[in-house]
Amino acid sequence: MLDDLRELYQEVILDHGRHPRNLRRPSDANRHAHGHNPMCGDSVVVHVTVDEAGVIRDVAFEGKGCAISVASASLMTEVLKGKTETEATALFTGFHDMCTRDGESGAAEGSDLERLSVLSGVREFPMRVKCATLAWHTLNAALAGADNVTTE
């Protein structure tokens, strides 16, 4: 229909939106947070299993939302396993910049950030940036030990 829309709703996003990965509640998760977007009423719960060394062993989510927010949560769970908390935080910063700043993301080929770059089309849709970042804000809250976060 229009290039911007095709860029936003890429096949990868539609696929993750329809068939989200790691949509579950792991029994051994030891960090949880609830994220809420007051504008649309969407909410997500992120569950993280962090081991004693600070490595993310498992990450999953529950919730419903638009294609962008579900796809972003799903992709997030795929790239985070095996990362340290510090690496996860750095990925969030890189992802957030990619969603809000113009220009090339500078993500190295084959990197996790490059995998997430399918979501960078939200730059052209400022009202939708919060959809793409809700799961990540919630992850941050879970790692920081907070229970709740909103996008406001």
Binding site: M1, L2, L5, M39, C40, I68
Partner: protein, 424 residues
């Protein structure tokens, strides 16, 4: 416009009882409708959130600022007197719009939300204590929920909620069963902002009055679409907002029967609402000024007056006929879009069509139709309890106004077909 052309744009072909709305001429009155969005003509289907303004309103406000402006009810100087006259003429127009008994029954507020808070605060102050009950409905906007919850937490009042059926009808029998010896006030919407349901408010009022219970109606979505007669309804309080009636923001209206307003204490304290002030004691003015502390929204009232003139100039019958025709057309067209389901199919509806689509979240729908130039509201419509009742997180909502056309509905329909193509 010729007679033939006029009949081309009427929404009720074959119905000669109502003079058809000349939509082409109406559209020419709204400068914003010539704007483009993403290179497409703006199709504005979000008037239930806020309506666009005709040139007559914009010019009345500019004219006031340029030729007739000072503070009101204060100086003896000429400009203050002229501005006060224009301001109070706005109050008279609102009184006539609602068929109030007197302009003194019209209180100006910042918006409808402030009017709800005013009634909640002052009515509770005068008439309510712990264990007393307020009846609201499942259809309410947050503005008619949260102020009562705040009172509940502060005073220990009890909220009773009238249920709806699956199609969005207000259930009158269940409502009647909720009215009890502790019910002090019924506060329900006239027209649902999220679904368009028209509540049988005359019946609601009669049932309450039979038990000496006062009734407050939320008319925000009613006044733009239908003639409201507060005396025929016998409403005790009636609230609406200017910006949904083609007027400016910053101006809300509370109608209250004289005897009801007279029984209420002031809302906020300050200038304008006092009769006399000493450091020992202050006496308050009579309504409506008792409830209008501080400098009021002067030019906004003048703008609202111009909006009322505009609506009366077209006539409610013609507006209603046009909007009902549009809604029926939209419901027919939209229901043929694959995977689309209309949410809210009550027996009587105003010109609002809420819908959801399989596999496409309302936000994704909103983003895609926006690129076709179509503005629809997506989300919970400030009615989250209603969304929960209906089992949806959100809907997309197209709301129709006097300037919309069937051609615009066709644009929306095509855009929704492309949503279906993307999301399947």
């Amino acid at each position: 416009m010729s007679k033939a052309a006029a009949s081309r744009v009427t929404s009720t072909p074959g119905d000669n009882s109502v003079a058809a709305l000349d939509v082409a001429r109406v559209r020419a009155d709204f400068p914003i409708l010539s704007q483009q969005v993403f290179g497409q003509p703006l199709v504005y289907f979000d008037s239930a959130a806020s309506a666009q303004k005709p040139r007559q309103v914009i010019e009345a406000m500019s004219h006031a600022y340029e030729t007739c402006y000072a503070n009101v009810h204060r100086g003896v100087h000429r400009m203050s007197q002229l501005t006060t006259d224009a301001f109070e003429a706005g109050r008279e127009k609102v009184a006539r719009l609602l068929n109030a008994g007197s302009a003194d029954e019209i209180v100006f507020t910042r918006n409808a939300t402030e009017a709800f808070n005013l009634v909640a605060t002052c009515f509770a102050g005068a008439h309510m204590g712990q264990g007393d009950e307020v009846v609201i409905s499942t259809l309410e906007h947050h503005a008619n929920i949260v102020p009562w919850q705040m009172l509940r937490d502060r005073l220990g009042i009890v909220l009773r909620i009238v249920p709806i059926d699956d199609t969005g009808n207000f259930l009158v029998d269940d409502y009647e069963a909720l009215l009890g010896p502790r019910t002090k006030l019924v506060a329900v919407t006239h027209v649902s902002n999220a679904l368009g349901t028209v509540v049988p408010v005359k019946q609601v009022i009669d049932l309450a009055h039979a038990r000496n219970i006062s009734v407050l109606l939320d008319g925000c979505q009613a006044v733009p679409h239908m003639k409201v007669d507060v005396r025929a309804l016998d409403a005790d309080f009636y609230i609406f907002t200017g910006h949904k009636l083609y007027g400016p923001t910053g101006i809300g209206v509370l109608y209250g029967k004289s005897e009801r307003l007279n029984a209420l204490p002031p809302y906020q304290g300050g200038g304008e609402m006092i009769a006399s002030v000493t450091f020992e004691k202050t006496t308050f003015k009579a309504p409506p000024h008792r409830f209008e502390a501080g400098t009021p929204p002067i030019v906004e009232v003048i703008g609202l007056g111009a909006a009322i003139d505009y609506v009366h100039g077209l006539g409610y019958e013609a507006i209603a006929a046009h909007e009902h025709g549009l809604r029926a057309y939209a419901e027919t067209r939209l229901s043929r879009v694959p995977g689309l389901r209309i949410v809210g199919t009550a027996r009587e509806k105003a010109s609002i069509v809420s819908f959801v689509m399989d596999n496409a979240h309302p936000h994704d729908i909103g983003t895609i139709v926006d690129r076709a130039g179509v503005a629809v509201r997506t989300g919970h419509h400030c009615a989250q309890p209603l969304m929960q009742r209906l089992g949806v997180a959100a809907t997309a909502r197209a709301s129709f106004a006097l300037y919309n056309t069937r051609e615009e509905v066709d644009v929306l329909t095509r855009a929704l077909e492309s949503v279906h193509e993307i999301f399947g």
